[in-house]
C-alpha cells in the first residue's frame, strides 16, 4: 500500500476542480469551464481507480485509512476509509460524474460554469459520504451534498422546478436532522466518540436502539426513498435537468441504502431485527404497488423515477432478510441500478433535447429515424426489466433467491418485479420507439452524435459486463458483507 491519500484526493480533486470551474467565470468562455470540468472529472476517476486495484479483498477491515484530528473540542476527526461495500460506490460516483459532465456538454448553454461546478462539488461531497468513518464528517458531507443538487434542480430544471427543488431539500433535510440527534446521543453514550467503528461495538438497550433505529430509518428512508416517503422523488426527477436526474438516480438514492448498512444495521442490530417485518412490508409495497404506479405513467421520466423506487424497494428488502445472498444481491442491485438508471435518464435526455417533451404520447416510431439510439435504448430497457445477461438480472435474482430462502411468499412477492418491470419498461419502449412515425416532429429527429454515442456506449458496456461477469464486484464486497452479517447476528443488549 502506498502513502498517497487516494480517498482525500477522490474527495478534494473534484471539489477544487469545481471551484476552478466556477472561477473560470462567465458564459462568454463557457468551453473553458467545460474542459476544466472534464479534466477534473477524469482526474477524480483516475484517483479513484487505485482504490479498486489496490484493494485487498481478503479482509473486512477498513482500507486506505486516513485519520487526522479535525475538531478536537468535540473529538471529531477527519477519518476516511473504505471497505468492500463503500469502495464500489466511490468508484461508481467518480465514473458517473464523468458521464454527467459529458452528457451536459452542449445541452447546457446558460451558466455553464455554475452547472459544471455544482456537479463536481457534489461528486466530491458524495465521495466524502461514502468514505467518512466519523459520524459528524459523514453528516456534514451528507447535508452539504443537498446544496448543489438543490441549485441544479432549481436553476436548470423544468417548468415546475422551484417546487421540486424546495420539496427535495426540505424532505431530505427533515430526515437528516433527526439523525443528527441520534449521532449526538451516540456520542454521549459512547463516552465521547464520533467514530462509527466505535459505535459498532457499543452496547445499547432495546429502547435506545429502537429510538436510534427510528431516527436513522426516517433519515435514510427519505433518501432511499421508501414508501410512503417517496413522493419527492418523481417531482425532483421530472423537473431536474438530465444530469441532475442521472446523479439523483445513480448516486443520491444509494446514500440512504448505504446509510442502513453503515449505521442502522450494525449499531442497532436488535432493533433492526425487531423492525424487519415493517421494513420488509414497506419494501414489498414499493416493489409491487409502485410497480403498478409506474405502469400507468404518461411521462417517461416519471416512469423511470417510479421504477427506481421499485428497484430500491428490492434493495431494502435484500438488507432486511439478513442473509448473505440478500445483502450482496442488494448491493449488486444498487451498482447495477446506478448504471441502468443513469443510462435510462441519459437516453430520455437525448430524446428530450431534441423534442422538448417527455410525454410518451408525443413519440412513436423513433427507431425509423434514430436506429443507433434505438438499439442502445433497447439494451437499457432490457436491463431495467431485469433480462438475464444484463446487470439488472444479477441483483434481482440474488435478492429473490435470498428472499425465497427466508420466506417463500416474500420471495414470491419480490419476484413479481421481474414481470412488472418488464411490463412498464418494455411497454414504454414499444410506444416510444416502435410503430410508424407518429408525427412530423419525430420525423425530423436526428440520430445521436458521437458525443452521445460515446457515453451511451460506455454505459452499455458496463451494463453488459456486469451482467455477464459480476464476479469482480461480488468478490470485493464478500468479506465486508460477512463481517456486517456477523455484527447484525450478535445481540447488543
Amino acid at each position: 500500500m502506498t502513502g498517497i491519500p487516494f480517498l482525500s484526493l477522490a474527495i478534494w480533486v473534484p471539489i477544487v476542480g469545481g471551484l476552478l470551474a466556477l472561477a473560470s467565470g462567465s458564459d462568454r468562455n463557457a468551453s473553458v469551464a467545460r474542459f476544466v470540468a472534464l479534466f477534473f472529472a477524469l482526474a477524480g476517476l483516475a484517483v479513484s481507480i487505485p482504490l479498486y486495484t489496490g484493494f485487498d479483498v481478503t479482509t473486512s477491515s477498513m482500507q486506505f485509512v486516513e485519520a487526522y484530528p479535525w475538531i478536537p473540542r468535540f473529538n471529531i476527526n477527519y477519518v476516511l476509509g473504505v471497505d468492500g461495500i463503500s469502495v464500489l460506490f466511490v468508484l461508481l460516483n467518480s465514473f458517473i460524474t464523468v458521464i454527467v459532465v459529458v452528457a451536459g456538454w452542449e445541452v447546457i448553454q446558460e451558466k455553464v460554469a455554475q452547472y459544471m461546478a455544482a456537479f463536481l462539488i457534489m461528486s466530491g461531497l458524495i465521495n466524502g459520504i461514502f468514505s467518512a468513518l466519523d459520524g459528524v464528517l459523514f453528516y456534514v458531507f451528507f447535508e452539504a451534498s443537498l446544496i448543489p443538487l438543490f441549485i441544479i434542480i432549481g436553476v436548470w430544471g423544468g417548468a415546475n422546478r422551484v417546487y421540486a427543488a424546495i420539496k427535495f431539500f426540505l424532505y431530505t433535510l427533515a430526515g437528516s436532522l433527526l439523525m443528527l440527534i441520534a449521532l449526538l446521543y451516540l456520542f454521549m453514550e459512547s463516552g465521547g466518540s464520533f467514530n462509527i467503528l466505535d459505535w459498532h461495538q457499543l452496547k445499547l438497550g432495546m429502547d435506545v436502539q429502537s429510538l436510534i433505529f427510528l431516527a436513522f430509518l426516517v433519515s435514510f428512508a427519505v433518501k432511499v426513498p421508501m414508501f410512503p416517503v417517496h413522493t419527492w422523488l418523481p417531482d425532483a426527477h421530472v423537473e431536474a435537468p438530465t444530469g441532475g436526474s442521472i446523479v439523483l438516480a445513480a448516486i443520491a438514492l444509494k446514500l440512504g441504502a448505504y446509510g442502513f448498512l453503515r449505521f442502522a444495521l450494525p449499531i442497532a442490530p436488535d432493533a433492526s431485527h425487531a423492525f424487519a417485518p415493517l421494513i420488509i412490508t414497506l419494501s414489498l409495497i414499493a416493489v409491487i404497488y409502485i410497480g403498478f404506479v409506474a405502469l400507468v405513467q404518461t411521462d417517461m421520466k416519471k416512469l423511470v423515477a417510479y421504477s427506481s423506487i421499485s428497484h430500491m424497494g428490492f434493495v431494502t428488502l435484500g438488507f432486511f432478510i439478513f442473509n448473505p445472498l440478500g445483502i450482496e444481491g442488494a448491493i449488486v442491485q444498487m451498482i447495477s441500478h446506478g448504471f441502468v438508471s443513469a443510462a435510462m435518464f441519459a437516453s430520455i435526455g437525448v430524446l428530450y433535447d431534441r423534442m422538448h417533451s417527455r410525454q410518451i404520447s408525443d413519440y412513436g416510431g423513433v427507431v425509423n429515424v434514430m436506429p443507433k439510439f434505438a438499439a442502445l435504448f433497447m439494451l437499457f430497457a432490457m436491463a431495467n426489466s431485469g433480462l438475464p445477461a444484463t446487470s439488472g438480472f444479477v441483483g434481482e435474482f440474488m435478492v429473490a433467491l435470498g428472499a425465497v430462502k427466508f420466506n417463500f411468499w416474500i420471495g414470491f412477492g419480490a419476484a413479481t418485479t421481474l414481470i412488472l418491470g418488464a411490463a412498464y419498461t418494455l411497454w414504454m419502449y414499444k410506444r416510444v420507439v416502435f410503430g410508424a412515425v407518429a408525427n412530423h416532429h419525430v420525423a425530423e429527429l436526428t440520430d445521436i452524435n458521437n458525443r452521445e454515442f460515446v457515453f451511451l456506449a460506455i454505459l452499455a458496456v458496463c451494463v453488459l459486463a456486469m451482467g455477464i461477469y459480476p464476479f469482480p464486484v461480488t468478490e470485493v464486497m464478500h468479506a465486508s458483507v460477512n463481517e456486517l452479517l456477523k455484527h447484525v447476528a450478535v445481540s447488543k443488549l
Binding site: 438543490f150 427543488a165 426540505l170
Partner: protein, 488 residues
C-alpha cells in the same frame, strides 16, 4: 474619608474610548468636512481600543473601581469581538449614510457611545455598573434609530423601542432593588456569596431574579419580550438595523453571563427553567413568524429571535441536577453560537446595504430577485449566509447549532433538541426561499451594483469567513471555551 486612587490599568480601553468620543465630537463640530474625519477617527478609536485590550490582556482576573469593575478573559474576548463587529458595521454603513445625508457626526459619536456602553456591560462586576452600561447602550441606540428624523417609520420605531426599552430597564432595576434588599450588596460576587450562605430572604431573591430575567430577555429580544424587534428592525435605517442586530447581542450575552452565571449561579435551576420556556417559545415563534414575512429586514428580525432562543438553549444546559461539570461546555457553546450569529448577521445586513443605493432601499424579498444574474459573487455570499443561518454544513452556522445541540443532548433534554431541529427545518424553508429568489427567479431590476471597493472586499471576506469557520471551527470554539475558563 480615605480617598484611594483606583487602578485605571484594567479599564484603559474604556477610558481611551471615552476620551476619543470627546475628540470625535469636537472634530465633528470644528472641521469643514466632518464626514471623512469623523469616520477615520471612529475606526481609529476601535482599532486603538482593540490594541489596548490586547496589550493589557494578561489572563488574570483583576478588579478595580472598588470591585465594580472586572477585567477577565471572557470580557477581553467579547470586547474584541464587539470592536470588530462595530468596525465592520461602520464600514458597511458608510456609503449608505452618506447617500442619505444622515447627520454623520452624530451617527459615529452615538456608535462609539454605544460601543462604550457594551464595553461597560461586558466588564461590569456590579449590578449598577451593568445597568449603567445598558442604559448608555440603549439611549444611544434609541437615538440612532431616530436619526432619519423625517421618516415616519423610523421615528415610530424609535418611539416604540424607547417606551418598551424604558419599561424593560424599569423591570431590571426593580429586580436589582429586590436583590439588594435581600442580599445587602450589589457587587456580583457579593450577591453570589450572600445567596450561597443563605443570607437574605429566598422569596425576595427569587422575585428579584424573575425581574432580572425579564429585563435581560428584553435586551436579547426573546419571546414574549420580543415585540420591539420586528418593528425596530424594519423601521430603522438598514445601517442602524445592522448595528442593532450585531454587537449588542454580544453585550446581552455578556450581561446574561455576569448576572445569571457569575451572580445568581446558586439559582441556576430556577433561571434555567425560566430561560427554557423563553428559549422554546422564541425558537417556535421566531421561525413560524418569519415564514410570513415579505420584508427581509423583518424576516431577519424574526430569525434573530429564533437564533437568540437557540443560544439560550446553551445557557440552560449548564447545570443538571446540581451537577455543574457541564457548565463550561454549555456556556462556551452558547458563546460560540452568539459570535457566529453576529458574523452571519453582519453579512446578511451587509448584502442589504450593498443592494441599497441613493433613493432606493433594498429590503423587500423581491428586491433580491435574480441576484445571481446581476452579480453571482454576492448572490453566492448571500446564499452562504442563508445556508449558514439554516444550519447547513459546511458553514459556521451548522457548528454553532451542533455545539448547542450537543450541550442540550448532554444535559438530557432530548425532546427539546428534537423540537429545536424540527423548528430549524421550518426555518430552513424561509432561508431557502431567499436562495430561491436569488437563483431561480428573473431579476426585476437590472441596475448594476455599485459599492465602494472596501465594502465589497470586506463583505467578501465576511462571506469567506463564514465558510472557513465552517471548515475549521476548532480555533474559535476553543477560544470561547478558554476565555470562559477563568470566569466560571
Amino acid at each position: 474619608m480615605n480617598f484611594v486612587i483606583p487602578d485605571f490599568y484594567p479599564a484603559a480601553a474604556e477610558l481611551f474610548v471615552v476620551a476619543m468620543s470627546f475628540v470625535i465630537l469636537l472634530a465633528g463640530t470644528f472641521t469643514k468636512q466632518p464626514r471623512n474625519v469623523v469616520y477615520a477617527l471612529s475606526q481609529t478609536t476601535l482599532i486603538g481600543a482593540a490594541a489596548i485590550t490586547l496589550f493589557t490582556m494578561d489572563g488574570q482576573v483583576s478588579f478595580t473601581f472598588s470591585n465594580m469593575y472586572v477585567d477577565d478573559l471572557m470580557g477581553d474576548f467579547l470586547k474584541l469581538v464587539v470592536y470588530f463587529a462595530v468596525a465592520i458595521a461602520l464600514l458597511y454603513s458608510r456609503s449608505y449614510m452618506n447617500d442619505r445625508k444622515i447627520e454623520t457626526t452624530e451617527y459615529y459619536v452615538l456608535a462609539i457611545f454605544a460601543t462604550l456602553g457594551m464595553m461597560v456591560m461586558i466588564t461590569a462586576n456590579h449590578f449598577l455598573t451593568i445597568y449603567l452600561g445598558l442604559e448608555l447602550l440603549s439611549l444611544a441606540l434609541y437615538a440612532m434609530v431616530a436619526l432619519l428624523r423625517d421618516s415616519a417609520r423610523a421615528t415610530e420605531a424609535a418611539m416604540k423601542y424607547f417606551v418598551l426599552g424604558a419599561l424593560a430597564s424599569g423591570l431590571l432595576l426593580y429586580g436589582i432593588s429586590m436583590l439588594y434588599g435581600a442580599a445587602g450588596t450589589l457587587e456580583i460576587s457579593g450577591v453570589a456569596q450572600a445567596i450561597y450562605q443563605q443570607a437574605g430572604n429566598k422569596t425576595v431573591l427569587l422575585f428579584g431574579l424573575v425581574f432580572v430575567v425579564a429585563g435581560l430577555a428584553f435586551k436579547l429580544g426573546v419571546v414574549p419580550f420580543h415585540m420591539w424587534i420586528p418593528d425596530v428592525y424594519q423601521g430603522a435605517p438598514t445601517s442602524i438595523t445592522l448595528f442593532i442586530a450585531s454587537a449588542p447581542k454580544l453585550a446581552a450575552f455578556a450581561m446574561a453571563m455576569r448576572l445569571l452565571v457569575n451572580g445568581l449561579f446558586e439559582f441556576a435551576e430556577q433561571w434555567q427553567s425560566m430561560l427554557m420556556v423563553l428559549a422554546v417559545l422564541s425558537i417556535v415563534l421566531g421561525n413560524l413568524a418569519a415564514i410570513a414575512q415579505s420584508n427581509l429586514k423583518r424576516m431577519l428580525g424574526y430569525s434573530g429571535i429564533s437564533h437568540m432562543g437557540f443560544m439560550l438553549l446553551g445557557l440552560v444546559s449548564g447545570v443538571v441536577g446540581g451537577d455543574r461539570h457541564f457548565a463550561l461546555n454549555a456556556y462556551s457553546s452558547a458563546m460560540f453560537y452568539v459570535v457566529s450569529y453576529v458574523l452571519m448577521s453582519l453579512a446578511s445586513f451587509g448584502v442589504l446595504l450593498l443592494l441599497s443605493r441613493a433613493g432606493f432601499e433594498a429590503e423587500a424579498l423581491d428586491d433580491f430577485k435574480g441576484l445571481n444574474k446581476r452579480n453571482s459573487w454576492f448572490a453566492g455570499v448571500m446564499a452562504m449566509v442563508m445556508f449558514s443561518m439554516a444550519g447547513i454544513p459546511f458553514f459556521v452556522g451548522f457548528f454553532a447549532k451542533f455545539s448547542v445541540l450537543q450541550a442540550v443532548v448532554a444535559a438530557g433534554y432530548i425532546w427539546v433538541a428534537i423540537l429545536a431541529v424540527v423548528m430549524s427545518l421550518i426555518g430552513a424553508f424561509y432561508y431557502l426561499r431567499v436562495v430561491k429568489i436569488m437563483f431561480f427567479d428573473e431579476p426585476l431590476d437590472a441596475t448594476p451594483i455599485s459599492a465602494p471597493a472596501d465594502m465589497r472586499a470586506l463583505l467578501s471576506l465576511n462571506g469567506i469567513a463564514i465558510a472557513v469557520l465552517g471548515l475549521a471551527p476548532q480555533a474559535l470554539m476553543s477560544l470561547c471555551a478558554y476565555s470562559l475558563l477563568g470566569s466560571l
